[in-house]
Symmetry: C4
Subunit: 229 residues, 4 copies
């Protein structure tokens, strides 16, 4: 079933170590089939080096496995919550990438300091509020998805393609699995440059709003003129 989706999700997962975004088996990418609502996701704890199409699991929106020999990623309920809550999302990725995870551990949103950030995201990259003990013990992964959606505070998922989970690491999304991985690559570069910048300019140097808007609109929306038509 859905061979093309599974192949795309496999390729997107394999991209993570190539891009330096994962260590060992930490991290997972999923993709969603819009017509059936089924989600293809990496099996839990599967190492990237030996991963094959048989390590990709198909799950329904209720979390049940539809196809696959593997147990799906433990983070599957977070992915499902994001597909339900973030309109237009066809791919989700979670990593512990170093620079983004450091902002998440410091509980600091990534401030908009430059055009690399502005090309990617409108405003700062938010951090979730930590889950309380009850939610942590009853529905940790689903609750994490809900916390991410709350952190967006009504901002559009296409304008804020990433959220930092407090004390944990980033979740990113896009129209499909490859776009979600591209968001994760971009977020990591943005997180690194912001880290290096605040060390040089501790008071912060926010990008001018007109330059931020101009940059986002070069790449996104009806007036975009970046890339090939």
């Amino acid at each position: 079933m859905l061979e093309e989706l599974k192949e795309a999700v496999l390729a997107a997962n394999q991209e993570l170590p190539k891009r330096g975004l994962v260590t060992l088996s930490w991290g997972n990418v999923s993709g969603r089939d819009a017509s059936t609502g089924l989600i293809a996701i990496k099996g839990s704890g599967v190492p990237y080096e030996s991963m094959s199409i048989d390590d990709i699991v198909l799950v329904a929106e209720d979390g049940s496995t539809v196809e696959g020999r593997r147990r799906p990623s433990t983070d599957t309920p977070t992915h499902i919550a994001l597909y339900k809550g973030l309109a237009g999302t066809g791919g989700v990725v979670h990593t512990h990438s170093r620079w983004a995870a450091s902002w998440a551990q410091a509980r600091r949103p990534i401030p908009l300091l430059g055009t690399t950030h502005a090309d990617f995201c409108v405003g700062p990259v938010p951090v979730t509020a930590p889950l309380g003990p009850e939610e942590t013990w009853s529905d940790y992964e689903g609750g994490t998805g809900a916390a991410i959606i709350r952190a967006l505070a009504g901002r559009k998922p296409s304008e804020v393609p990433a959220v930092l989970v407090s004390g944990h690491g980033p979740f990113c999304w896009g129209g499909n699995a490859a776009a979600a991985v591209e968001a994760a690559v971009t977020l990591e570069a943005v997180a690194e440059m912001a880290w290096l910048t605040v060390a040089l300019a501790p008071g912060g140097e926010l990008l001018e709003e007109h330059i931020a808007e101009r940059h986002f609109s070069r790449k996104h929306g009806p007036g975009a003129y970046y890339g090939q038509a």
Copy 2:
């Protein structure tokens, strides 16, 4: 047309990911043919992995495409402004390389702290003043070129082969596309070492002027004795 120039510009663009200077499709190199004034530049948003000679576009000094199936880089007007304003320039490169971009985001010129810098550039690497809203919305890329030239403040382009665009990243230049990329490689090393140095010596430790002059003159000008004759 100008096959040799296009091949040189293709090779110079391909050098960027090998040197760790670009992520995804961010960055572009151009080269100028002195006799016709035509500029060869990378197509907008083209990924480096699959780039071929067909992704290099020839543009005239008025920005119109003379040859090529691709839309040229969105930064083309900045490149054109630099060729016009910086005498003797035959190659221009723009990247979001991490260390240089961090100085640009912090709005701090890179101070002359050591001989690696002195071998490359006379005095600090300047940062542009940010564009105002009007210029940003009317002619963002051309205005960026003008801001770079203003930041040089009359210093010679052969003695200051790079400028940091405030909140954005570096533009570098040289006699041809390969020389511009060599400047970008050097700038990134200089930016990294300066970052590491100011963390150890926050008050700064400027290089003695006589040592800076001696180093620049070892590599440049009539008394140069570095390299092979």
Copy 3:
């Protein structure tokens, strides 16, 4: 003798440079055969590039060589002390990996700042007290093992799979040589992210205890649900 153990120890040693954990010949992995009590360990000062099964030495618990042409690692008495003192340990690794060694040199335990750490270790990663002159000159390597066991202060080795030796670097352990190397890889990532985090949030942002417990229990113990059954 014990060919399988020696092969596993060779492979685990070769994993260290692949994971970026060692420079030159610094570092060593051993594995213990539970039935005979014999330990297979890397020869002292052997370079990783040319290492073969003949560079792995079998030693008894009294430190005497049972098989092998090489002198065993100078750190062998530390490994032996850990096998004796840490119940259930079948593999030990020592490196000078950069981030972990920096915490060791700063004499600071690594605080529990995020879920990557919580997945791996209950509470902070401890630092040993420095050895006094007498122990240093009479039994430096054995004394180092004893200091590591003292630093655990009764915490379970399966819940604290690493200790930083003050002014030196990490020792890590696990059920076998491969598990010990996985602990060393994880520790280095944890050390790096903690370093980056404290620079952003100098006051520290400890992970909530309920989230730390939830994460450790996702991966370890009877209720674990991470990975494949």
Copy 4:
């Protein structure tokens, strides 16, 4: 002439980019033949990628070229001064390696913070005093060699195998060219870990003297027991 020496010097130069110690053509290794006193050194500005035995030049102690088509490295007079001034030295290397150069640019000796340093060098790694204008203009490279020897202040070259040239970068040495490169690799690791450590422990945490002595004596001198007999 001296084919074996030239091959060893070529291999040692080629090791620099493999170890991440050089960018572009910055850096050079030489080796000295004890019986003739001749020195084999890299040609000036030669790129590492295409370097061959023909790019290695033989020079006499007065700096004159004895064999080779290339102009020798501009730093040749510094190498010669070190061979003359540092007894037992058979190999010298100069790089602009990032972490060591940052300490050099900050004008700070690298403090002895851990055992990686103690295994390598007795006491801190010194920094030279800057040359005055007169020496800079009359005999910059020879004066740099003299400044390095002064910075040792009578300490033994076998116990202090590296000095940082103020505002510039490291020079390292050893019994032959390969040993000098090993010193450069070690120095860079030591410089990186010291940098990371002082950020965590700004007041510094010097290694206990008895541990430093024990470590140096494990690897050097009559009581050494590290490595194979």
